[in-house]
């Protein structure tokens, strides 16, 4: 039956089921087509066209692209450095994770590597971003399930991490923090103490979340056994991130293809076997705990090591003495003019990273010019979108918000 759901302009405006605020149309005996979205109470920007027989979904067609911004095309007409602020708009609250593989791919092509301190700083912001993005996902999930406390709490606690990121980078969301050859800023004085305080606070709050949300009988009744993705199907569909690990696959880019300093840090990859929406919630709680462990180790490392250059020598040696003086005084590395005119040697590189929602991959091809020849991005949410087509059918309409929320689908990231 696939391929027959097509909505053209002439067909809009039908409401056979008389549902408030929703299009619906009768397409056969006991078979109705309902349009969910693109404006819905959660994150929005995405429509799912479902066909229902009674209360059971028999077919679902995710209709993406409402926030498509042609990033792959735009990157071809911009210089290399402009790609960083462009790509981080995919997932602004996960900006460091999303742009890091692009930066690393270009570094690979140029055969340079960031200094060790810059690597730790990247990991620091990556994990701060990861926790903030998980909390954002929890908040949206709370909205979907009608649990308004779970909307307020994570959004409030997310502020802690967003402010830490602001203190570190100067921007709340679109940090543009990793640049080719290093990072833009070193940690300000007193940062690691504030970080440790935030870690202690978050550990306490996770226990509160468990009491009010995760172990809540109402929430459990709505999530347990819902949206089960069996292990073999998760692999076949190429599902990624916490959703994959909640289905029993131990795959995490930080483990399977370690980047930056993740191979020197001590953390675990939590794996759940159930594969249902409830396991995916626990998966995210456990991953926040692991991120907190990583942050603690990074804070220890930063305390022990004195400030050293955070940009690769190739870029730092061209910096005028004034820039070096500013760096020594404030820890801010101003970007030299060399970034605006840089050319990248011809070749191809493939780089990936584990974002909060899963694996993001960049294929970067250069022909030796000052602009990329081709950049192909495949983000985590774009890969997880297959869940709607293959997992949702067979569930009741009531389960759709639970599945949508548990996947932690983020439309701007999927649409690119």
């Amino acid at each position: 039956m696939s391929g027959i759901i097509r909505t053209q302009g002439a067909q809009v405006g039908f409401n056979d089921l008389k549902l408030p605020g929703m299009w619906s149309r009768k397409i056969g005996k006991d078979l109705y087509e309902i349009f969910i979205g693109p404006q819905h109470p959660g994150s929005g920007h995405m429509r799912i066209v479902i066909r229902v027989d009674g209360d059971v979904i028999v077919e679902a067609d995710p209709d993406m692209g409402y926030v498509h911004r042609t990033m792959e095309k735009l990157s071809e007409v911009r210089t290399w450095i402009k790609g960083i602020p462009l790509f981080e708009r995919m997932a602004i609250h996960d900006a460091c994770n999303v742009t890091l593989p692009y930066v690393r791919a270009v570094e690979k092509l140029m055969d340079i590597e960031a200094p060790e301190r810059a690597k730790y700083l990247r990991v620091l912001l990556c994990e701060i971003n990861r926790i903030a993005a998980f909390l954002y996902g929890f908040g949206i999930f709370g909205v979907f399930l009608g649990h308004s406390t779970m909307y307020m709490w994570p959004f409030g606690d997310r502020e802690v991490w967003v402010e830490l990121a602001e203190w570190l980078t100067g921007a709340r969301l679109t940090h543009s923090y990793p640049v080719f050859g290093g990072v833009r800023r070193d940690v300000p004085a007193g940062f690691t103490d504030a970080l440790r305080k935030a870690i202690r606070y978050m550990r306490k709050r996770l226990e509160d979340y468990r009491k009010i949300f995760v172990d809540n009988p109402v929430i459990r009744a709505r999530l347990e056994g819902v949206g089960v993705i069996p292990k073999n199907l998760a692999i076949e569909l190429g599902i990624t991130g916490p959703n994959l690990r909640a289905s029993g696959v131990k795959y995490d880019v930080r483990l399977n293809h370690p980047y930056e300093v993740y191979d020197q840090l001590d953390f675990e990859i939590p794996v759940f076997q159930e594969g249902d929406a409830y396991a995916r919630v626990w998966q995210r709680v456990e991953e926040i705990k692991q991120s907190l462990n990583i942050l603690e180790q990074v804070a220890d490392w930063l305390d022990k090591h004195p400030r050293t250059p955070i940009l690769h020598d190739k870029f730092w040696k061209t910096a005028p003495p004034l820039y070096k003086k500013i760096f020594e005084e404030t820890g801010r590395a101003k970007l030299g003019a060399v970034y605006a005119i840089m050319k990248v040697p011809a070749g191809k590189a493939y780089e990936r990273a584990e974002t909060a929602r899963g694996e993001i991959s960049y294929y970067v091809e250069s022909n030796g010019g000052n602009k990329p020849y081709r950049i192909r991005i495949h983000s985590a949410s774009a890969r997880n979108a297959l869940v709607y087509k293959y997992i949702v059918p067979g569930h009741r309409v009531m389960d759709l918000p639970a599945i949508y929320g548990s996947i932690d689908y983020f439309p701007p990231e999927a649409d690119r």
């Binding site: 692209g65 493939y350 991959s361 091809e365 020849y373 495949h378 979108a385 297959l386």
Partner: protein, 162 residues
Amino acid sequence: MSPEELVERIKSLLGEFVKDVKIWKNDYIEVEVDKENIEEVAKRMKEFGFDHVKDLTVVDYMKEGFFRIIYNLGSYDNFELSYYIVGIAYNIPRDKPVTKTLYYTYTSADFQEREAYEAFGIIFEGHPDLRPVLLSPPVAELKPLRKDFVVKEDPEIITKKK
């Protein structure tokens, strides 16, 4: 497993189908094959352990007159293989962009083939549901990711025009 070892194993697996192999930056392996053999190659690669399509990349070489389609395969189940990405690449002429779908071997290629269809106008024969996924149909007709679709960008800071 070193990349060279993996290349040897892929060569023995695919035999005469392999036209060319390149190792880019130590962890990305690009295997060039012929368009006609792509289905058989995909089946063998899947049995070998590359269980999903990480992404489907199309590169437009307008001057040379062909599209290069690259299925970047990854592995979830095999720890050793999961370190590497293997790109199965083949070229199709620009004026006749028709190829076979790998949907029946790799379900994970479903939406990505639709993306390649809308952005480059490549027809994947046999795909059960080939229609635009991100773009609206009028925009998809323009085939925006082809190199002859030119986007005007703001002027460069450093441009020397003589």
